[in-house]
């Protein structure tokens, strides 16, 4: 009972973070019609930016704030948002012409980018692992005999808040409407007067920013090192395939679903197979519902 409660809570917290990463991937995919294979590396860059801000730059500025971690994580998101836009404009946009051969290269470019970022990080930061101080003390639920890592709780809640904000951006602002229009039909959106070049750049920045803030929030839990994005990439892609490529709602539901399947499987069956549960879940979907939870049977690309 206690184990069940603990793993359910964990699944909920993990789910929120997974959702953040998956939304980053699926958002870029639905706007730009490319899969960003460097997702995990933006997650990694986010975690390093957070590490630098929280443990070097803030102390150097004499900044001591309550919840400094949240400010730092949001700043890390902002930095990667800008980095993402620069990368999109300089490396991806020149190849990103839908309907041409070059379009394929835009996806390949994201693969190259992941290698570049990873090696760059090893070069700059070395192969060692770093962490940031815990965000909150552990939370002890005496009656239930449950201990929850404060950082997990804090980062899970922050992730939920960011997901909510992202939904507000999408469904309550004119920018969000423009994004939803482009996701539906790029050509029609362009005739309606939307500048796809700018919108693509913004979308790439936002998508990578979402992955980055996940990495930043998880820094005290999953550490900061050049290879910490690998799991993020894998989880992210499992989720978007399960949820249906291009479906944000699907990504959110699939994120929580995956976290639940993994958590319960690993706690009550065999822990070393944890990564495998996700794959089984994924393969189940590919066989019985290849378009994912909320996807359309054909991809419009």
């Amino acid at each position: 009972m206690q184990l069940l409660l603990q793993s359910l809570t964990l699944a909920l917290l993990n789910g929120a973070i997974y959702a953040l990463m998956a939304m980053g991937i699926t958002f870029i995919a639905s706007i730009m019609r490319i899969i960003n294979w460097s997702t995990g590396e933006f997650y990694m860059v986010g975690s390093f930016a957070h590490l630098a801000l929280l443990t070097v730059i803030f102390p150097a500025l004499g900044l001591t704030l309550p919840m400094a971690w949240l400010l730092s994580a949001l700043l890390a998101m902002g930095l990667v948002f800008v980095l993402g836009m620069v990368v999109q404009r300089t490396l991806i946009a020149p190849m990103h012409r839908p309907g041409t051969q070059a379009f394929e290269y835009a996806t390949i470019m994201t693969v190259a980018l992941s290698v570049l970022l990873q090696n760059g990080a090893i070069m700059i930061a070395g192969p060692n692992q770093y962490s940031v101080p815990d965000y909150m003390r552990p939370i002890l639920l005496e009656d239930l005999e449950i201990v929850l890592n404060g950082s997990r709780v804090a980062s899970g809640l922050a992730a939920l808040a960011i997901i909510l904000l992202f939904y507000v951006l999408l469904y309550r602002t004119s920018l969000g409407l423009a994004f939803r229009g482009i996701a539906q039909n790029r050509l029609a959106a362009e005739t309606a007067g939307l500048n796809l070049k700018t919108m693509d750049m913004l979308a790439f920045g936002i998508g990578t920013g979402l992955c980055a803030v996940a990495g930043a929030l998880l820094a005290p839990v999953f550490l900061v090192h050049p290879l910490n994005g690998a799991a993020a990439t894998m989880k992210g892609f499992e989720i978007i395939v399960i949820g249906g490529i291009g479906s944000l709602g699907g990504a959110v539901v699939a994120a929580f679903g995956l976290a639940l399947v993994e958590g319960l499987g690993a706690t009550f069956y065999r822990a070393e197979l944890q990564q495998l549960y996700g794959f089984v879940f994924l393969i189940g979907f590919l066989v019985f519902r290849p378009q994912g939870l909320f996807g359309h049977r054909e991809r419009r690309v």
Binding site: L177, A178, R180, G181, Q184, N185, T191, A192, G193
Partner: protein, 244 residues
């Protein structure tokens, strides 16, 4: 006051061996509604696509109200007051009808919030008779309603200088044809917009258009009132498929 709004000079477009538009030159006047007719395959859609920036011309230039259009992006043209509809209506199926109408405003960087533009949007919906459908997804509209939705969207791109309509009546229920005609008139009157209407329905052309341009084989073969052009032997020949 009659003044020139669109000048086309020596415009050509080839697709492989097909010379879809050959060296067309034309001068359209502000506030006029032009009928663009011609047999299937005569190049009407290609001409519309060239003017609206979907195709880059092989040669020639297009000047709208003093602005050279040829190397501009489609989204920039919307900002210059050039609006078009598609033969197969392009709507955003999972957005609501209201959101579809608001979309052009979302992209133009104006500081007004969506809320501020809502009145204009409802106004456009009223003109097109879609008010009742405002909160429905656009995917649930019939073909004719979708065409009206494209026109409602055009109403939001104010001020419209040039409206290009590619067969807006194709497969539309008669009751809605009336509404479409009404909306075209509205746009024409409200903005002094020039309209180019591609259609096969001579009665509508007669009712709406003061001036008709006839295309055949990628060229303009006649221009004038409907009665004038119908009398032209070249037009008759083109419609009968005979060489001139």
């Amino acid at each position: 006051m009659i003044s020139s709004i669109l000048q086309i000079r020596c415009l050509s477009k080839r697709f492989g061996g097909t010379h879809a538009v050959r060296e067309i030159s034309a001068d359209l006047q502000r506030g006029q509604i032009y009928g663009l007719i011609g047999p299937n395959g005569s190049g009407k859609t290609t001409l519309i696509n060239l003017i609206s920036g979907f195709y880059a011309p092989d040669t020639g230039e297009i000047i709208l109200d003093g602005e050279e259009l040829t190397r501009r992006k489609p989204y920039e043209l919307a900002g210059l007051g050039l609006v078009r509809t598609f033969q197969m209506p392009k709507t955003f199926a999972s957005l609501t009808v209201l959101e579809n109408v608001l979309l052009p405003v979302a992209g133009d960087g104006r500081s007004e919030s969506l809320d501020a533009m809502r009145d204009a949007a409802f106004d456009a919906l009223a003109t097109t008779g879609l008010t009742g459908m405002a909160q429905h997804p656009a995917g649930s509209l019939s073909g004719g309603q979708a065409m009206l939705l494209q026109l409602a969207r055009a109403l939001m791109c104010a001020p419209v200088k040039l409206l290009l309509l590619d067969e807006p009546f194709g497969g539309v229920a008669p009751a809605l044809k009336e509404r479409i005609t009404h909306t075209i008139r509205q746009i024409n009157e409200r903005f002094q917009a020039t309209v180019v209407l591609v259609s096969h329905e001579m009665s509508t052309i007669r009712a709406l258009c003061s001036n008709v341009i006839v295309m055949g084989n990628g060229q303009v073969i006649a221009q004038g009132t409907l009665d004038e052009v119908s009398a032209s032997p070249e037009v008759v020949a083109a419609y009968l498929g005979k060489p001139v």
